[in-house]
Amino acid sequence: MSITDAGTDASTEAVALTKRDFTSDQEVRWCPGCGDYAILAAVQAVIPEFERKPQDVVFVSGIGCSSRFPYYMNTYGFHTIHGRAPAIATGLAVSRPDLDVWVVTGDGDALSIGGNHLIHALRRNVDLTILMFNNQIYGLTKGQYSPTSEAGKVTKSTPFGSVDHPFNPVSVALGAEATFVARTLDVDRPHLTEVLRRAHAHRGTSFVEIYQNCNIFNDNAFLTITSKDTKEDFQIRLQHGEPIRFGPEGSRGVRMGAGGNCEIVSVDDVGVDALLVHDEYAENPGLAFALSRLAHGPSSPTPLGIFREVSRPAYGEGITAQIEQATAAKGPGDLDALLRSADTWTIS
């Protein structure tokens, strides 16, 4: 059987798949209360909608609590090494455009050791759906600060507080030419589900930052934006084509300042017409970037949703096209001819 046959077994008739079809028999081993459970449940619940058979789906991960994810999916899975999942998945996606390839990673895995592979995958627009579980901590190694931890964080490796200024993952992705960038929350199942749908539908690299609570080493990191009391004030939910409003009865909004940076205003003061209308599809990432700068970490009103979705050929398509063109032009490779493509001489 050749690999191109693999995905096309006609015997699998079109029976609707369910969550159960995507659930492996492995016992889930995160700490009780971990936000990873909710994300797993959401993925397992939504993935049947995508009408890909389990055998055509692959989850690739690095190392971290989050990277245990593939074991729990009844698909193909590859739990690789720390930080390298985007690179490994690139090879898979480029060589097997017929597959549906996902990457599950953590804030340390993706942005610390794996930063370079992530930004290059984004720049190339490899056809991957990347879910980054951001708990702002190293979970698996028991609680050191991560590149998304807030400055001053006291952890095992920073008993006097970290002196690092953190990354804003959405800004990093936009600076790296990402074509799809979104942010969502472990605890908001509908929002998470919708973002997953959109991310999966996007061709090229989709980068999804999922705020995820690590109740053991960084509990309540996202409390302001998740708790009933404060979430209205702290969640700025982006909706394409709509003026950006939030707060009780949409009383607050976002305006584009003259200097190219977004500012939060009172709608009563400025009027709805002054508000910025969100445009997911803006070719220029300026708007998305400006939105990403509204909050550095979840301690101020934080945009959630899809920052940007634009279309650019996926990397693998370009490679496949060159193969097709070369084959059309030269015919399929003839080994004997290749070896004899230089000056030859014959001794008889």
Partner: protein
């Protein structure tokens, strides 16, 4: 001196072998002249071996020692193994080329210099106080002082090109002269130039004129009393071409892909002297080759492993510093037991070392350069054309045993060339691979299931089930896995079993490779010369020379370094003395001593250049008497 118009009848002398070295400034086009001479020689049917030698700087300042670029070719009427220890003829296009190459020329050797370049300024640049052409420095040699530049300029006069372009054709003049001297036909080079400069007719014309002028000059100048002929070798019948190691590696990979039915995926990050494999492979997309220039070496090997997981023939090409970065991923490949080729075109180390020079110092890295018990088979190529076969073998082992495999070549075989009797696809081995396509195990209750680590009892290889295959969905990873089911397992005894199984799988390959072939004509030699990789040529030549001198010496050469061929212990224990020449400080010798407890001794050269046959022959002499 000037050209004379007198037409003299020239003698033709017959030689059995000649070594010529072209040397000049990086800008003088010596590599090109060498390449063309090589092609003409190959087409003529001589056996040959070449050694290009270029500077580490992209463009070192003109006229300096650092900027000297050289190309040596050895050709003969019998089979030869090396580009030659010392040149018989040195073509030196400027003082720097003369200065940096003269010490390699034996007494009585011939020097052809471009006198025009021996200006005061150029002499000063390389620290010649007086002009060596005018003092006694060259007394021991036969010197021809030619005004190559001026003669070239005169030859191309009237062609509509600038002065700089005109001057640049002087390499063709030199080439033409050498072709005359050794009876190489010009037709091939003329054809090549015509294709290359199809769009630049003036440049073409100038080059052709210069080439012809060089030939004519030899023919007519009274300077050269004779020309030489080296008859074609009596080689095995077949179709031949000239090939470099890097090209042969690339072709071997393409062949492996065709023969195995696995699409080829190369993940690579450019690095000297390996980049040319990437360059070559990226040309052949009609073979379904996917080349991926990654952001770094880690991504390169990672992508290759990802492709292997998907059912491709995953390959990564690099040199030592790149391998140093890939160790963690190779260890993952060992653990998940997926086929993967890691090709190390070795260069001088440690660190950046001598990046454009050759060395064999990454053998221990290939064996041990990973954490944990992480066995990886190793194949090494011994000559430029052998890279083709070695690549096929590496691919065969990787896919059959589901394991990463190292293919070691080096700068010497990678850039060197030799004639290669071309195989036909039909004669090449069948490398087809069977993917898993169904369940292979049953649960206690009888439900069938797929166990990704249930091994083939013979090869100990695990099934390779590629994504897209119905029913066989499974997860793999770098954490220890349960023997059989492949589920994560922290069980102590299982870990020991898995470590031993992985080791046994690699060790078992010794049953699947040829025995070590010993060449011991007298059958009573005391000394065995044992080598690996590219030192094959000089070792063969040295052994032959030593035997001609009456020495009894046996010779064997490893293509497989992990595991060793099954008879290796028997072989090495049969000889009193074992000499292991290596371009390192003693790596294979360490392994042999450890494995077989024999007192093998090293002959070690770490100078960025291959052994000469003389160096090894001398050591053999010393050891056998």
């Amino acid at each position: 001196m000037t050209t004379t118009e007198t037409h003299t009848a020239k003698t033709v002398n017959e030689l059995d072998r000649v070594v010529i070295r072209f040397a000049g400034d990086s800008g003088d086009g010596m590599q090109l002249a060498g390449d063309r001479f090589t092609d003409a020689t190959a087409a003529f049917g001589n056996d040959l071996a070449t050694l290009p030698d270029y500077p580490a700087e992209i463009r070192a300042p003109a006229g300096t020692i650092a900027g000297v670029s050289g190309f040596q070719i050895h050709f003969s009427d019998h089979d030869i193994m090396t580009p030659g220890d010392a040149p018989d003829v040195l073509v030196a296009m400027n003082p720097a080329a003369l200065k940096s190459n003269l010490s390699d020329l034996p007494v009585g050797g011939t020097v052809i210099v471009n006198e025009d370049a021996f200006t005061e300024r150029n002499l000063e640049k390389v620290g010649y106080a007086t002009n060596p052409l005018d003092d006694q420095s060259l007394d021991a040699f036969t010197v021809f002082r030619l005004q190559i530049t001026s003669m070239t300029m005169r030859a191309v006069e009237g062609v509509d090109i600038g002065k700089k372009d005109a001057e640049r054709t002087k390499n063709m003049f030199a080439l033409g002269l050498m072709c005359w001297m050794y009876g190489r036909p010009l037709a091939g080079t003329e054809e090549w130039l015509t294709t290359k400069f199809a769009k630049k007719p003036a440049i073409l014309e100038a080059n052709l004129k210069a080439l012809k002028a060089g030939w004519n000059f030899g023919e007519t100048a009274e300077l050269f009393a004779s020309s030489y002929v080296i008859r074609p070798q009596a080689a095995e019948p077949g179709t031949y071409r000239n090939i470099s190691g890097n090209t042969a590696t690339a072709y071997g990979l393409i062949a492996a892909s065709k023969l195995s039915g696995l699409p080829l995926f190369l993940g690579s990050y450019p690095i000297t002297p390996a980049s040319d494999v990437l360059h070559e492979l990226s040309k052949h997309k009609n073979f379904g080759v996917r080349t991926f220039q990654a952001e770094d070496e880690i991504a390169a090997v990672g992508a290759a492993l990802g492709a292997a997981f998907g059912g491709s023939l995953g390959v990564t090409t690099t040199s030592g510093p790149g391998v140093a970065l890939k160790g963690e991923t190779i260890s993952l490949a060992v653990s998940v037991e997926l086929p993967l080729l890691i090709i190390n075109v070795q260069r001088g180390g440690p660190s950046t070392g001598l990046p454009t020079k050759t060395e064999q110092s990454d053998l221990l890295q290939a064996l041990y350069g990973r954490h944990g018990e992480s066995p990886v088979p190793i194949v090494a190529a011994y000559s430029p054309s052998h890279c083709f076969t070695a690549a096929l073998e590496a691919a065969r082992i990787a896919t059959k045993y589901r394991t990463p495999v190292f293919l070691l070549t080096d700068g010497y075989v990678a850039n060197g060339t030799e004639p290669w009797r071309l195989p036909s696809e039909a004669d090449l081995p069948d490398l087809r691979v069977a993917f898993a396509d169904g369940f292979n195990h049953s649960k206690a209750d009888g439900t069938p299931e797929f166990w990704p680590f249930l091994r083939d009892p013979e090869t100990l290889a695990r099934p390779w089930a590629v994504p897209g295959t119905p029913d066989l969905m499974h997860r793999i990873g770098g954490i220890e896995k349960s023997d059989g089911s492949g589920n994560i397992s922290y069980d102590p005894a299982n870990h020991q079993r898995m470590c031993e199984l992985r080791a046994a799988k690699v060790a078992g390959i010794s049953r699947d490779i040829p025995l070590l072939d010993v060449d011991d004509p007298s059958d009573d030699a005391d000394l065995l010369v044992l080598g690996w990789g590219s030192s094959w040529g000089p070792i063969r030549a040295a052994v032959r020379r030593a035997r001609q001198g009456g020495a009894k010496v046996a010779q064997a050469h490893f293509t497989y370094l992990n595991p060793f061929p099954a008879n290796t212990g028997d072989v090495v224990r049969r000889y009193d003395k074992i000499l292991v020449p290596e371009m390192n400080l003693g790596q294979l010798v360490k392994v042999l001593r450890s494995e077989f407890l024999v007192d093998a001794r090293g002959l070690n050269k770490v100078q960025g250049r291959p052994f000469t046959a003389a160096e090894i022959a001398e050591k053999i002499q010393e050891t056998t008497t």
